[in-house]
């Protein structure tokens, strides 16, 4: 099979590491060859962060480049737009609608481009936007945004629901399993 690409992006500190860990687990359990590439350090301090996940029969490069991603999963609205160029034709953007102002916006040096997702939709990009923060809070913790988004990904993904749940059980600390299962379910069942 052709190698597939998934991009997980957001703002440093939002918990993208657990999302990629869960996704990695699901894909490894399915027997795929997989590579996950993250950047640690400087960019974690509230900067724009990105994780690349690639899977297939044999994966070489650990990074996803322009037009190679089947999914772009974003924890923040304009981060989805920042990395939209990575999406391949026919790919899907799944994004949290949460707005987090970057420093240039905070200090008034730039505008927050609120309508950028509409522009991408108008250009034919399929975007699934959801208030993952509200759903995470409904599940019991604002920190579960990552798992809500993974739930929404699962809805569009070829791997069965139960296998995701099994991977959650293998990935998450025991005391957080129920919370994360709930968050996953809410993300999975969300539709506009």
């Amino acid at each position: 099979m052709e190698t597939k690409g998934i991009v997980i992006c957001g703002v440093g500190g939002q918990g993208s590491l657990l999302a990629s860990k869960l996704l990695g687990k699901v894909l490894v359990n399915e027997g795929y060859d997989i590579k996950v590439s993250e950047v640690h350090g400087m960019s974690q301090r509230g900067g724009s962060v990105i994780t690349y996940v690639r899977y297939g029969d044999k994966v070489y490069s650990p990074v996803v480049q322009s037009g190679e991603a089947d999914f772009v999963i974003s924890f923040e609205k304009i981060e989805a737009a920042r990395y939209a160029h990575l999406l391949k034709k026919g790919g899907i953007i799944i994004t949290n609608t949460q707005r987090i102002d970057p420093m240039p916006v905070i200090i008034g040096a730039a505008e927050y481009p609120d309508g950028v997702l509409d522009e991408l939709t108008a250009k034919g990009v399929q975007i699934e936007a959801l208030d993952a923060l509200a759903l995470a809070e409904q599940a019991g913790s604002a920190k579960a945004v990552n798992i809500v988004l993974m739930g929404q990904l699962a809805k569009h993904f070829h791997i069965a629901y139960d296998k995701w749940i099994a991977a959650i059980e293998q990935t998450v600390k025991p005391k957080f399993i129920d919370l994360n299962k709930k968050a996953f379910e809410l993300g999975y069942n969300y539709s506009k």
């Binding site: 590579k35 996950v36 400087m42």
Partner: protein
């Protein structure tokens, strides 16, 4: 058992399986996790040393005593440890000694993108470079075998995309080689001229033997595909080339980047029509090919800058890249920022407000250079703030004494700030040194250091007293301030700048991300009192924004540090109940 592991964890696993017994390192992105993961194996003694030179020398001592040892560092860390490395090349080892060094092409978290391969060449030691996590583990083990077989330290070169990329690793068992008894051997280990003169020919002879090894070693392997294009590549570049060409090119994958084979490259060159070298950073392999008379295309096509990718390589070869959709709307950049409640912010605000020239250093506080604080004037390397300030003050002949300071973190001070401070005392500049003591090594992700009172395992350790240390280094004026208290901080800065001698201000409050630091309730803005003066926005705090013309606090981010509260002239920001007096003391005790 198979496991998905980042390259650094796989290196740690390889060190473990190879029976390493002592690891001493200094943290530095992207190398830090090697030692962090190694420390999770109880069979290995691991430590954070104050700097990379100390770490490598500790590893040397362990090797001398007959066990397998290792150290890990980032590329610029090897500059610090270069001194022991060059002579370790002469002494060789008793127990195997592996030096892991992680380059950062693209400078994701570094001040330069130097190419560590030059060190292997200059120090005349072998260097391996893995291309995925499985190789990270295997090469870490092989590095010990090479180290012992050829009596040399062996370098293991990582880069960000290998160190921080996860791929599948097959786990093996740990085998500890028999400990060699300690025997005094002055001819080998006392590198005074008479002995060193005799060791140098050994080094040259060793390089010849290692080159022979490189000719036949399976780590340098040919993967024949289409013979119209031949590519020599290593590490991540090998992966990118495979991604672009698959079987559409023939590849000589180099696993041992120093010394490089000669005949193997000549044979490969003869088997392909056109030969390319794809290597990030400098043209090291390309120069070697030129030296042995093999014509290659390299840097003229790919350049020496940044990280490569399958896309950049395809473009360089003139191949089509994938179609894509982008927004026309400009997306504002999102640079990293100091966290909400970061204790550095109060000090930077004071320095910025008073228009003080600030020589900076390496750590989270480099972020003080960003708008709106723009508090820094320079950042060079670990420790350069203090030594640089001394030279700056001497050159200014008194004109800088009352308006220039330097800032350096607790860990960076222990790493290489102490010697600069000794120079200030000894050679008498009237410098004002600010130690930003947040009680942890922050930027690399919270590693303990000699001032925190804990070791790598989190167990209690000797806590070096910074005040006493600065006094001992000859500084009479040493004072501690809480950077959450702006008035106290400003007073200290002004008084110490006015003083007619050198002084140290220790700006002390633990990093807010430390688990034992409990956040206070977020502060709130009373919109009726807020006059939209935006004074609070001068802090560059990610929790403060303007909403409907008024300041507004993002309560999901705010940790209630109260610094903005002190800036508001209209008393519009505050906690409902808590006051400054309820803050935990600055000298927080870790759990």
């Amino acid at each position: 058992m198979k496991e998905l592991m980042i390259g650094n964890a796989a290196v740690a696993r390889g060190l473990y399986e190879a029976g390493v017994e002592v690891i001493s390192s200094y943290p530095g992105t992207p190398s830090t996790e090697i030692t962090e993961f190694a420390a999770t194996y109880d069979d290995i003694y691991c430590e954070w040393a104050p700097n990379e030179k100390v770490a490598m020398e500790a590893a040397f001592g362990a090797s001398l005593r007959g066990v397998r040892s290792a150290c890990a560092m980032k590329h610029v860390g090897l500059n610090v440890a270069a001194d022991p490395l060059f002579t370790l090349s002469y002494t060789g080892v008793t127990g195997g000694l592996v030096v892991c060094v992680a380059d950062d092409p693209g400078m994701h978290s570094s001040q330069n993108e130097q190419d560590s391969r030059h060190y292997a060449i200059a120090a005349k030691v072998p260097m391996l470079e893995p291309a995925d996590s499985a190789e990270c583990k295997e090469f870490a083990k092989l590095a010990f075998d090479i180290s012992e077989q050829f009596d040399t330290p062996c370098l293991l070169r990582m880069c960000t995309r290998i160190a921080h990329a996860q791929s599948v690793v097959e786990l093996g068992e740990r085998t500890v080689p028999e400990k060699k008894p300690y025997e005094k051997n002055p001819q080998k280990f006392i590198m005074a001229p008479a002995n060193a003169i005799r060791r140098h020919p050994f080094v040259e002879e060793r390089t010849k033997k290692l080159t022979e090894y490189a000719e036949t070693s399976p780590v340098n392997r040919v993967e024949m595909g289409d013979t119209r294009i031949g590519i020599i590549a290593t590490g991540a570049c090998y992966q990118y080339c495979k991604e672009v060409f698959g079987e559409g090119a023939s590849i000589l994958k180099i696993g041992m980047v120093n010394p490089l084979p000669v005949q193997k490259i000549k044979d490969f060159a003869a088997s392909v029509e056109k030969l390319y070298v794809v290597e990030e950073l400098d043209g090291v392999i390309e120069s070697h090919c030129n030296n042995i008379g093999v014509k290659v295309i390299g840097k003229e096509l790919f350049g020496p800058l940044g990280e490569f990718s399958q896309k950049s390589i395809a473009q360089a070869f003139g191949l089509p890249v994938k179609e894509t959709v982008t927004a026309d709307t400009q997306i504002p950049v999102r640079p990293p920022v100091m966290c909400s409640g970061c204790p550095h912010r109060g000090m930077f605000y004071v320095l910025s407000k008073n228009k003080i020239t600030v020589l900076g250093d390496i750590g989270c506080y480099t972020l003080g250079s960003a708008a709106p604080l723009t508090a820094l004037d320079s950042t060079l390397c670990m420790g350069a703030s203090i030594s640089g300030l001394h030279g700056f003050a001497k050159a200014a002949q008194g004109e800088a004494d009352h308006n220039t300071v330097c800032v350096i973190g607790d860990s960076t001070f222990m790493h290489s700030g102490m010697t600069g401070l000794a120079n200030i005392a000894y050679n008498g500049s009237k410098a004002t040194v600010i130690i930003l003591d947040n009680s942890i090594t922050g930027m690399t992700g919270h590693q303990q250091n000699p001032t925190t009172g804990y070791n790598i395992k989190g167990d209690p350790a000797t806590k070096i007293n910074l005040e006493a240390l600065c006094h001992s280094l000859g500084i009479n004026r040493v004072r501690v301030v809480d950077p959450y208290n702006l008035e106290e901080t400003e007073k200290a800065v002004k008084e110490e700048l006015a003083a007619d001698e050198a002084s140290v201000i220790i700006s002390r409050r633990p990093c807010v991300l430390l688990k034992y630091v409990k956040p206070r309730k977020p502060v709130m803005v009373d919109p009726d009192k807020c006059k939209s003066c935006k004074r609070c926005m001068k802090l560059g705090c990610p929790s403060i924004r303007i909403k409907d013309g008024k300041a507004n606090i993002d309560t999901t981010l705010c940790v209630g540090c109260g610094v903005c509260e002190q800036l508001c002239p209209f008393d519009a920001i505050g906690h409902e109940e808590q006051t400054m007096a309820e803050l935990p003391p600055a000298q927080c005790v870790a759990q």
